[in-house]
């Protein structure tokens, strides 16, 4: 794709009229664009940040460590000015251009909440963690079965084909392990275990019949198919520099995959620098007719019109836009008859980690830098409630070999020390948790009554915190992980609680949840508003519960499924 191609479809732009408008260009927005454009809909994608073009806008992608003046660290003044964003996973001198600056995008924290954002075409899909396990039937039914939430309006069986659809296109590597707690998908070959991990898996398997350590299921092209090559993407080169943008297209992002694919249909217009003000609702027609934006550069309001709207602004920004989309029909925010918009915001609990050393394996090493971690599927509260907390947790884990064997030498200066520090050192093993959090009415977001951002949009107020259930789940993970590693011969085991504020996980969800009952949910089983069928929300905001598995691949599946439904309904004249 030519880097300088302007994305503006002039004729449609003049008319400001499209078949579909997609708000946001991240993981779910990119998927909405792809599906809608493929089905022939003239689609406008609105992105509040700058444009990012695959390859052209990856300025650090091929830089060597020594080419960074601070070797990856950020200067003191930058850290002082950006205490929030500099804490984000993956943030550094090499990736800073894909993250916001704190002062540009203020929000109000009633309780500590670290809202990590990446405002550009591609959104956070450029800088995501890329883990892509499937949810199982257990997570879709647990909130209702155990009474900690409302029923999901869809089953695992309904979403499974859409998982396949998303996996085949995005390219997910992984092993087919046959686990009921983490069902198999359409996988490219997995990354190898290293030799320590291989033994760890065998050891854990022999001691815990219900606990499965598996190769990571990750959005990396270990062996691209014709479909990936057609996207212009190639094999993952094991550089492990994904978040800079990949010159090989080795990992999935909107910028490398769905957006260029959608552009090739001729049906896509991307409009960067478009801060969405609100969804425009027509009282007479009884439906949404378009979207009002503020041009981020000239700070003028512009309206765009469409037959359907997909809201994919990222979980909390979608809440913000919807809360700000008021009309005679919806004075409390879009579709918000039951007053639940912005409530039941949840996230995933990443507080616990356990690590230690393992002896031996001095004659073993690895080649290349694996871009995936190993996983352990959830083993808690599957068939029945068997702990003192609700929900489950999965873990990411692995073993790695340190560099430098000089720390214990008698003399730690000079030639022998240098030689020792240039060799491979000890092996270490780690596990960290990704825990479910349980939807709470009081974990919510709202709009500030008096504070606005630079574009005149009210600031988001977050009031989201941990509850006792999170502490109990964390405690269980720390105990179980330590026991497991101990049983496998790991020494010097450390337990760690990082006390992160919610939000640092970058897995915030909910606020506009799906459900069967319009009294207790905003969206139906097709991600449509119960009260306004031509508006769809398919990013993290739609989540009924969080589960323990990573959510992004589910957003892709939900989006593709909703988009297909939208097109069918349009054809039937129902929207």
């Amino acid at each position: 794709m030519s880097g300088d191609t302007t994305y503006i479809n002039t004729k449609a732009q003049e008319q400001h009229r499209f078949d579909a408008i997609v708000i946001g260009s991240g993981i779910s927005g990119g998927w909405a664009a792809k599906e809608l454009c493929e089905q022939g809909l003239k689609t406008l994608v609105l992105e509040r940040g700058r444009n990012v073009v695959h390859l052209k806008d990856y300025p650090t992608a091929t830089m060597n460590p020594w080419e960074f003046p601070h070797r990856g660290e950020m200067p003191r003044q930058f850290v002082k000015d950006n205490p929030l964003i500099t804490e984000a996973a993956g943030f550094g001198e090499d990736t800073a251009h894909f993250f916001i600056r704190d002062k540009d995008h203020p929000y109000v924290q009633e309780k500590p909440f670290e809202w990590i954002r990446g405002y550009q075409v591609g959104g956070k899909s450029l800088i995501w963690g890329r883990a892509c396990p499937r949810w199982s039937q257990f997570e879709f039914t647990a909130p209702e079965r155990y009474g900690y939430g409302i029923a999901w309006p869809i089953t695992y069986e309904e979403i499974a084909p859409w998982y396949s659809h998303a996996e085949l296109f995005a390219g997910i590597c992984g092993n087919r392990d046959g686990l009921e707690a983490m069902p198999d998908g359409e996988y490219l070959p997995p990354f190898d275990f290293n030799c320590v991990e291989k033994d760890l898996q065998t050891s854990l398997q022999s001691k815990y019949r219900d606990r499965f350590m598996i190769q990571g299921r990750w959005a990396q092209l270990t062996q691209p198919t014709a479909l990936h090559l057609e996207q212009g993407r190639g094999r993952c080169q094991a550089r492990d520099l994904c978040m800079r943008g990949c010159p090989f297209g080795g990992y999935f992002s909107s910028v490398s995959s769905t957006l260029p694919w959608a552009l090739r249909t001729g049906n896509l217009t991307i409009r960067p620098y478009s801060v969405v003000h609100s969804i425009i609702y027509d009282d007479k027609k009884g439906k949404a007719i378009g979207v009002r934006i503020v041009d981020a550069q000239i700070r003028q309001s512009v309206d765009y019109y469409s037959r359907i709207v997909f809201v994919n602004a990222s979980a909390l920004n979608s809440n913000l836009i919807l809360l700000h989309s008021t009309s005679n029909r919806f004075p409390q925010g879009f579709g918000n008859d039951n007053g639940l918009l912005g409530k039941y915001v949840c996230f995933q609990n990443y507080r616990g980690s356990v690590n230690g050393d393992i002896e031996g394996y001095e004659d073993r090493y690895y080649y290349g830098r694996r871009t995936a971690e190993c996983m352990m599927a959830n083993f808690r509260n599957l068939h029945k409630q068997d702990t003192d907390f609700m929900g489950g947790y999965m873990a990411f884990m692995g073993a790695w070999r340190d560099r430098g064997d000089g720390q214990h030498a008698e003399v730690q200066v000079g030639a022998s020390y240098k030689e020792a520090m240039s060799e491979a050192g000890a092996w270490h093993v780690y596990m960290y948790m990704q825990g479910e959090t349980v939807p709470q009415f009081n974990n919510q977001v709202s709009l500030s009554a008096d504070q606005k951002d630079a574009w005149g949009i009210p600031l988001l107020v977050t009031s989201v915190g941990y509850v006792d259930n999170d502490e109990r789940l964390l405690k269980d993970f720390l105990i179980q992980a330590s026991e497991m590693l101990d049983s496998a011969g790991v020494k010097k085991i450390n337990q760690h609680d990082n006390h992160w504020a919610p939000g640092r996980d970058i897995h915030e969800m909910g606020g506009c949840r799906m459900g069967k009952d319009p009294k207790t949910s905003l969206l139906n089983g097709w991600n449509q508003f119960h009260t306004c069928k031509n508006v769809f929300v398919t990013d993290g905001a739609c989540m009924t519960s969080t589960a323990n598995q990573s959510p992004s691949i589910l957003y892709m599946a939900l989006t593709a499924r909703a988009a297909r439904h939208a097109v069918e309904e349009l054809k039937k004249g129902n929207l």
Partner: protein, 208 residues
């Protein structure tokens, strides 16, 4: 009276020149103290840090820290990334290291030969580690005192300057082009991942 004048008067008193005076005089370079130029490290400061770094990680079968321009690297990081209080520790530490060297060897660091520099830094390294241990005990005690006492103002022992110099040397060297590509093995584009390959003692570690 400066040193040169002092020496000259000694020489005059003795009725001739002092043997080795030129060498001694060159040892007076710089006439100023290390770190005196503040955050704009002087060329002498950089040359001196290069030598300190080179003593920690000398040229062997692979280049040393001087080849990695370690003095320049320290200059950049201390300026751009260090907190003010740490900048001060570092700047003061530059002269403290030289003073400690004089105390131990009778000579400034730049006047010592490679073996003297090495022996001196081996001792300083141990001293700094003992100090850091005391510091971490002290910091832990302070944490304990602060626990359940929100009004308590924690005291802090400053970091030892040599800990900083050594950390910067290791970090800067092993991420530099000579360090990463000659002392270690650097493969920009591995092309694939292999989980289990043989390793024998002495093989270089991966740089990244």
């Amino acid at each position: 009276m400066n040193r040169r004048e002092a020496l000259s008067s000694v020489a005059l008193l003795l009725g001739g020149s002092i043997i080795g005076a030129e060498a001694f005089l060159s040892g007076c370079r710089p006439a100023h103290k290390f770190g005196e130029a503040g955050l704009n490290f002087s060329p002498d400061d950089i040359a001196y840090l290069d030598e300190v770094g080179e003593t920690i990680l000398p040229a062997t079968s692979s280049p040393g820290a001087k080849d990695a321009k370690i003095g320049e690297f320290m200059h950049t990081i201390v300026n751009d990334c260090y907190e003010e209080k740490d900048q001060k520790i570092f700047l003061d530490g530059m002269q403290q290291l030289d003073d400690a060297c004089k105390k131990k060897t009778g000579k400034g660091f730049m006047d010592c030969d490679a073996q003297q520099r090495h022996d001196f830094l081996v001792d300083l390294d141990k001293e700094s580690k003992d100090y850091q241990k005391k510091k971490s005990d002290f910091d832990r005690q302070q944490d304990e005192k602060a626990k359940g006492n929100p009004g308590y103002k924690k005291e802090e022992m400053p970091t030892h300057y040599f800990i900083m110099i050594k950390q910067l040397t290791l970090w800067g060297y092993f991420t530099s082009e000579p360090g990463a590509t000659k002392a270690l093995r650097y493969v920009a584009v591995p092309g694939r991942y292999e989980g289990c390959i043989p390793y024998k003692k002495g093989d270089k570690a991966w740089a990244t």
